[in-house]
């Protein structure tokens, strides 16, 4: 994955490449349903472009951004490990 950090307001974009669009979609659908624990001050948007999962955060403060990003990366790592161990996806 690679990162783009905005120097002005706390924003971050992360781009995660997957072996196929289907696998990127699996990751997105596993990671998107749960709401941010914090009600305000943070927004997170997940999207798909081909085989790449993109995540864009906007936050009021850098520390709020950091908490959300760290948590997301932990869960992303777990999802990717799961896909590695139990993949590839079955034929549809």
């Amino acid at each position: 994955p690679y990162f783009l950090l905005s120097p002005s307001t706390p924003q971050l974009s992360v781009y995660v490449p997957f072996p196929s669009p289907r696998e990127a979609a699996i990751a997105l659908r596993s990671l998107s349903p749960d709401r941010e624990p914090r009600k305000g001050g943070i927004s997170k948007h997940l999207a798909l472009t081909g085989s790449t999962l993109s995540v864009r955060w906007r936050a009021d403060e850098a520390r709020i951004l950091r908490v959300s990003v760290t948590s997301f990366l932990d869960h992303l790592a777990l999802v990717m490990e799961t896909m590695e161990m139990f993949g590839p996806p079955v034929a549809l």
Binding site: I26, A27, P33, V79, L92
Partner: protein
């Protein structure tokens, strides 16, 4: 033939179990245990679950002798519970459901306990006492009626298990295998009954006042040698369990029920089972309880509730599969019973 795998990790236990038509094929579990005097914190618990969940998943499949293709449905705990661990387990369930091309089912944790209790004990239509450490739901008297598990009585503040666990921290006893188990062992050696507040409020119970009282009393009485920690453990159990027996009996009288089923972690406690047994005998009623494999949070109970829900035609869409810390037992439509 229907095979369901269930993922449970809403508190400090992470368990994954597989059920095939009422048979438990596997049910491995790990518990995150903290040092004496410390409770488990959400993010540490979540980290523990993330570290072991895939190992436990492999064990569940291996011990059942199954391949992913043999599974019909993936069930997981939607809630209630602690946010961080819930949110660490659900993505794994969602991922394997998609990898294996199987439907997903979000299960209510308490209903998992009830359905496992029903399966194991084959009770007809018992009054259920759900007793655990889990807040908002850890002292619940439930009876089934018209497609809902209706709540007849509940704790208005903390769970009974939470009360016991927090007292265990005050007297700094070990959390291994669980604080409640160690309180039970110490209580057996108690010789003195220390009077504590008894707080039943109609159909409901309250434990936070008892906890504050015993926290204060223990500092005074232990320091002055008036009583031993064992006596306090004994007195606390006698008090809170009597309260639970009382509200259970009230619900039984209300429903005309002749059966009691105890589920949840605190249900492992033999003294609670004994006291409930005495009340049941007096009423000519039957008591059902499960052993520590199923009283304590486990994956197979989620699989069992999932089995019932799946066969009744329920499925959870991925977009709707978000976890929730608060999830009342009576919110669920029990479509699998008449």
């Amino acid at each position: 033939m229907t095979v369901v795998i269930g993922f449970e990790g809403s508190a400090n236990k992470i368990g994954i179990g597989i059920i095939k038509d009422g048979e438990v094929l596997s049910n491995p579990r790990r518990t995150y245990i903290t040092p004496p005097g410390q409770g488990f914190m959400p993010s540490d618990t979540a980290r523990h679950h993330r570290a072991v969940i895939l190992t436990v998943l492999k064990e569940a499949l291996e011990q059942a002798g199954l391949k992913p293709a043999d599974i019909d449905c993936v069930a997981y705990t939607k809630g209630p519970g602690i946010g961080a661990p819930l949110v660490s387990v659900a993505p794994v369930a969602r991922t394997v459901a998609q990898l294996w091309g199987k439907p997903l089912l979000g299960v209510n944790h308490c209903i998992g306990h009830i359905e496992m209790g029903r399966l194991i004990t084959q009770g007809n239509n018992p009054t259920v006492l759900y007793v655990s450490g889990r807040n908002t739901q850890g002292g619940l008297v439930i009876a089934y009626s018209e497609r809902r598990y209706r709540i007849f009585g509940e704790t208005i503040d903390i769970a009974v298990g939470n009360c016991l666990d927090r007292f265990a921290r005050v007297i700094k006893i070990s959390n291994d295998p669980s604080p409640g188990y160690n309180i039970e062992q110490m209580a057996k050696k108690g010789t003195q009954y220390v009077e504590l507040p008894y707080t039943v409020k109609g159909m409901d119970v309250s434990f936070s006042g008892i906890l504050s009282h015993i926290e204060e009393a223990s500092h005074k009485m232990l320091n002055s040698g008036q009583c031993a920690a064992e006596d306090l453990c004994f007195s606390l159990q006698e008090t809170v369990f009597s309260m639970l027996v009382e509200i259970t009996e009230r619900a039984m009288a209300h429903c005309g029920s002749q059966e009691v089923l105890i589920v949840g972690g605190v249900g492992c406690n033999m003294r609670l089972q004994e006291m409930m047994g005495v009340m049941c005998k007096e009423r000519g009623a039957k008591l059902f309880a499960t052993d520590e494999r199923f009283c304590i949070d486990n994956g197979a109970m989620i699989a069992q509730a999932g089995w019932e829900m799946f066969r009744a035609g329920q499925v959870t869409e991925l977009e709707d599969s978000w976890i929730t810390q608060r999830y009342r037992t009576d919110e669920v439509e029990v479509t699998w019973r008449d």
